[in-house]
Symmetry: C2
Subunit: 192 residues, 2 copies
């Protein structure tokens, strides 16, 4: 899941953690410099357009992660329940049981959204498609599956905010586990 040491990928991974914890506005070059072990000038060598470009690289990395750890797992062989559990475990790890913010949310609420928006859209779009594919497999019709995916991601994102504000991990855990609803019989049935 993580990159080799010394590579550019590793630099991006380190930037990732800073943007995740601080958000776009809160992340300073000083902290990005410390986290990577590179001087500011070296960072500008790799990312001539500065912080915005670093953030975009991080967004690409986030999209990669979504593709490999969620979409690909969703399309693996094995029972639906098993695959969903695997996705839940991965998200639980990435978000440190809800204690770590989402890097996407930290970018979405930034001042520079304009430049980053297409990266954000792709990240959330891929994520949504991954969950949507699971929902369809469970028998949901297309529109309902798409809504389910978006709604579930929203719930997860909001849970991270609530936990950041209140400290209570319950909301996040419930949100994560609610994905298992897809593995239940009859979930695709229309409401009575």
């Amino acid at each position: 899941m993580f990159a080799e040491t010394g590579t550019k990928d590793e630099i991006v991974d380190r930037l990732f953690t800073v943007f995740q914890k601080r958000g776009f506005d809160g992340a300073s070059l000083t902290e990005l410099s410390r986290a990577t072990g590179l001087g500011k000038s070296s960072l500008y060598h790799h990312f001539p357009d500065g912080k915005a470009q670093m953030a975009q690289a991080v967004l690409q990395r986030a999209t990669e992660l979504i593709d490999t750890e969620i979409l690909q797992v969703a399309q693996m062989s094995g029972s639906m329940k098993t695959r969903i559990r695997k996705i839940i475990a991965m998200l639980n790890q990435i978000y440190e049981n809800g204690r770590a913010p989402c890097v996407l949310a930290g970018m979405a609420t930034s001042t520079l959204v304009g430049d980053l928006q297409q990266g954000l859209r792709k990240a959330f779009g891929n994520w949504s498609e991954a969950i949507e594919s699971l929902a369809k497999e469970s028998g949901m019709p297309p529109v309902r599956a798409r809504h389910f995916a978006e709604d579930w991601i929203a719930r997860l994102q909001g849970a991270l905010i609530l936990q950041a504000a209140t400290g209570d991990a319950g909301v996040f855990t419930r949100a994560l586990n609610s994905l298992l609803e897809l593995a239940k019989e009859g979930v695709a049935r229309d409401p009575v």
Copy 2:
């Protein structure tokens, strides 16, 4: 809902809009100054502890709004459906159909959470209690009602993030309207 012109309450209302749109880290004194029509020194006259104190005043205002526009409405006379519709309309207005971020979320993802955290906790706590009271009235047992409230608020918060990232208003609208589930018959029944 809004304060008289020239009062301190109106200053806070104007600060509110800046923190809502920019978040804590993104809000600069320059912009807060412009929004209020006061010089920086005048702002410091009203808020000697600076930006953090301004943010705290805004959080108090947000809590007031939650109490008067959600909790009080929830406890009004009238049918459950009517009261819920009123709450939905108010939130739809505050969040400009999902196009405006939540000021609470913009504080939760900030660097100075330490000082503001108790204010945030209270705001979300009151909000949750308001929704919880509705859920209980609909027949849900206490724990389930609390979970319903937290989960619904999380979903709404996440929907705002998704809409900020993707531009799609559907998630937010669905999240808002899902509160109407409480007005349906049999919602308190245990799942089959």
